[in-house]
């Protein structure tokens, strides 16, 4: 089996909350691997810690108030990113691991031309002369499908639409041909049609450049279309992980089940859903006070006393290769309890 490109083990990123005292355990013991060339999707509701996870990888968490606990491991090609000195870390950021963000419009610096912003990483990492860097920027703009790249290169971000801005962000991220692209909700701020274009573009570029993609999203539909494997996060933890087809065919965690039921399906008759979309009752609890026991139990239709008392570990579902499908749920030990209560 190939070595993973990125290994995240027991990642804990905590925030000291305002007015001292409290600690928000935004990411609380997350582990996963990303293999070369694959797409791993991380799915979850707002507040589940998926964005903090993605920012932690390149250590972009503002410190203070945030900090990554010792004992966490983020290993990229055998190097622990958490112990690297700043210059070594900078040599990886934007060069071997690049990142794009949710809000393309605010993620571009308004006072520099898009060309300058794209060329910058190439100048810093590959020491390209200014002129060559500019040529590279134009080439990147063409690669991400921006019309008239020779002209667009001198435009400022405010002259671009949201979709164009995200294309520019992608061009900027890929200018040094990174091995891993972290895409944090790359299409959330965009119109649906533009969404599809951006996802297609990412797919094409991934195939052309052979990079791995870590895709953070709240949208199961996006995951289904793009990811090879999926990590489902809830309340700062991984609650289920499996290959995409397996997850959609056999969701085992009640939370995953709930998420799937909450997605409208075009092939489901209205009569079957009785005109209403399923919702998971309640909200993600605050990160400063996760529930005791299983963190999902207050919202879980199957919860029994064990769930309130004892926190389940990630259990192997026993499907496919060992460890390929894991679930953080006591139901695995007592499958007969999986009968709808309500």
């Amino acid at each position: 089996m190939t070595e993973p490109l990125l290994r995240v083990r027991d990642l804990k990123t905590y925030f000291v909350t305002e007015r001292g005292g409290g600690t928000a355990r935004a990411v609380d013991g997350v582990s996963f691997d990303v293999y070369p060339g694959e797409t791993l999707g991380i799915v979850g509701e707002s507040g589940c810690g998926k964005t903090v996870t993605s920012l932690s990888i390149l250590r972009l968490i503002p410190e203070p108030p945030g900090h990554i606990l010792s004992g966490s491991l983020i290993e990229f090609e055998g190097r622990n990113l958490l112990t690297l000195r700043p210059p070594e870390l900078r040599a990886i950021r934007g060069n071997e691991v690049a990142m794009i963000f949710q809000e393309p419009m605010t993620s571009l610096n308004p006072v520099f031309t898009v060309g300058d912003q794209i060329a910058e990483a190439a100048i810093v990492h590959q020491r390209l002369p200014r002129k060559q860097a500019r040529a590279r920027a134009i080439e990147m703009l063409r690669l991400v499908g921006i019309p008239d790249p020779e002209e667009r290169v001198d435009h400022y971000p405010h002259q671009l639409s949201g979709g164009m801005s995200q294309r520019v962000m992608i061009a900027m991220a890929l200018v040094c041909h990174p091995k891993l692209l972290i895409a944090d909700e790359p299409t959330t701020a965009l119109d649906v049609t533009i969404q599809a274009q951006i996802l297609e573009l990412l797919d094409r570029l991934q195939a052309e450049l052979g990079m791995a993609v870590l895709l953070i999203t709240h949208d199961l539909g996006i995951v289904a279309g793009t990811s090879d494997r999926v990590v489902v996060m809830y309340a700062g933890q991984v609650v289920e992980t499996a290959a995409t087809p397996e997850l959609f065919a056999h969701p085992l965690h009640p939370y995953t089940e709930g998420l799937m039921a909450a997605v409208p399906r075009i092939d489901t008759r209205v009569s079957q859903v009785r005109g209403r979309l399923h919702t998971i009752p309640g909200q993600v609890p605050a990160a400063s006070g996760w529930p005791a026991g299983c963190r999902f139990h207050p919202r879980c239709p199957y919860a029994w006393d064990r769930c309130t008392a004892e926190e389940p570990p990630l259990l192997d579902a026993g499907r496919g290769e060992p460890g390929s499908h894991a679930v953080r749920c006591w139901l695995l030990t007592e499958p007969r309890r999986r009968t709808p209560q309500a």
Partner: protein, 324 residues
């Protein structure tokens, strides 16, 4: 752009006219009359009457006002009551001194203020930031003239590093070579410009710290870090460039502050500039000088803010292209 400029210039003229009018009215409403400031020595009423009619002060106020505006429009600022010379000459002599002082103070204010503000923002909530924050708060709260007196006492009187007043050394200046004269002027400039500049820099630093902190929290700063840029390039390249935008507006506001500050500082340091000229003219009820000085100051403030707007347009691409 041209239409905009025409509108701005028209507004500028209107503002200066308003300043002249208000100054004119206020001066004549204020108690006291020219030629009789202290009234300690009795003056022959006949002499007084002759002077008043000579300068047209015996006419009704609206007539005086109309005549004054007419003369200004012709470029004639009138004759000083007390200095016995044309107002324009007195202003022409004082203006370069004030501009030198204000220019030097502006340089100190912006260079020092920017540097401190950026440093503080980069070290936010750490010891250096806290110490500087308290120091700038103190400097910002101190009255300019008190600051001037303090510097005068310490560096002029006790340490004797700098002269206590004047623009040049009246005894030796003329005999000095060219470079020596420049040095002499700078040496005399140090304390007054330092006073104005330091107080201004304190405010600028506080403003710039806040502006930088806001920018440093923006998404595009995270993007810059994610690109692998060195922190210096993130702060001085990506952040500062954005934090300079509101700062350009501050430039327009700094100008009036410098002019009002100059009145006090020029008085403390016996600096023969506009401020001192105006202050003395006010005490003597020297109407033409006061009105002309107010008009000039108003004009400079208007010009300053116009300049700031032009700079802003040059610095911010969203305004430059006019579609932001």
């Amino acid at each position: 752009m041209t239409a905009w400029l025409v509108r701005r210039v028209a507004a500028a003229i209107a503002i200066v006219w308003a300043v002249v009018t208000v100054t004119f009215v206020l001066l004549h409403l204020a108690p006291g009359t020219p030629f009789l400031p202290a009234a300690e020595t009795p003056v022959d009423p006949a002499v007084l009457q002759r002077l008043r009619s000579q300068f047209g002060l015996d006419r009704p106020l609206p007539e005086q006002y109309a005549r004054y505006l007419r003369e200004i429009a012709r470029g004639n600022l009138g004759e000083s009551f007390a200095l016995h010379r044309p107002v324009a000459d007195a202003l022409a002599e004082a203006l370069p001194n004030t501009l030198t002082l204000a220019g030097a103070a502006l340089c100190i204010e912006f260079v020092l203020g920017l540097a401190l503000g950026v440093y503080q923002a980069a070290r936010a909530r750490r010891l250096g930031d806290l110490a500087l924050g308290n120091a700038t708060l103190f400097l910002y709260s101190v009255p300019t003239f008190w600051m001037g007196l303090l510097l005068l006492l310490v560096f002029g009187q006790w340490l004797r590093w700098f002269p206590v007043g004047g623009v040049v050394d009246v005894v030796t200046h003329e005999s000095l070579p060219w470079a020596g004269r420049v040095a002499d002027r700078l040496w005399h400039l140090a304390l007054p410009a330092g006073t104005l500049g330091l107080v201004g820099a304190a405010g600028t630093a506080r403003f710039e710290r806040a502006a930088m902190l806001e920018v440093l929290g923006q998404d595009y700063i995270r993007t810059a870090r994610a690109k692998g840029l060195p922190e210096r390039r993130v702060v001085l390249g990506h952040a500062l460039r954005n934090a300079l935008l509101p700062f350009v507006t501050l430039f327009g506001l700094a100008f009036p502050f410098l002019l009002t500050g100059a009145v006090l500082v020029e008085t403390v340091f016996a600096w023969p500039g506009m401020g001192r000229l105006a202050a003395e003219a006010i005490f003597r009820r020297d109407y033409p000088v006061v009105t002309a000085a107010a008009m000039l100051a108003g004009g400079m403030v208007v010009l300053g803010s116009l300049l700031a707007d032009l700079l802003y347009a040059a610095a911010d691409p969203r305004i430059r292209t006019g579609d932001g």
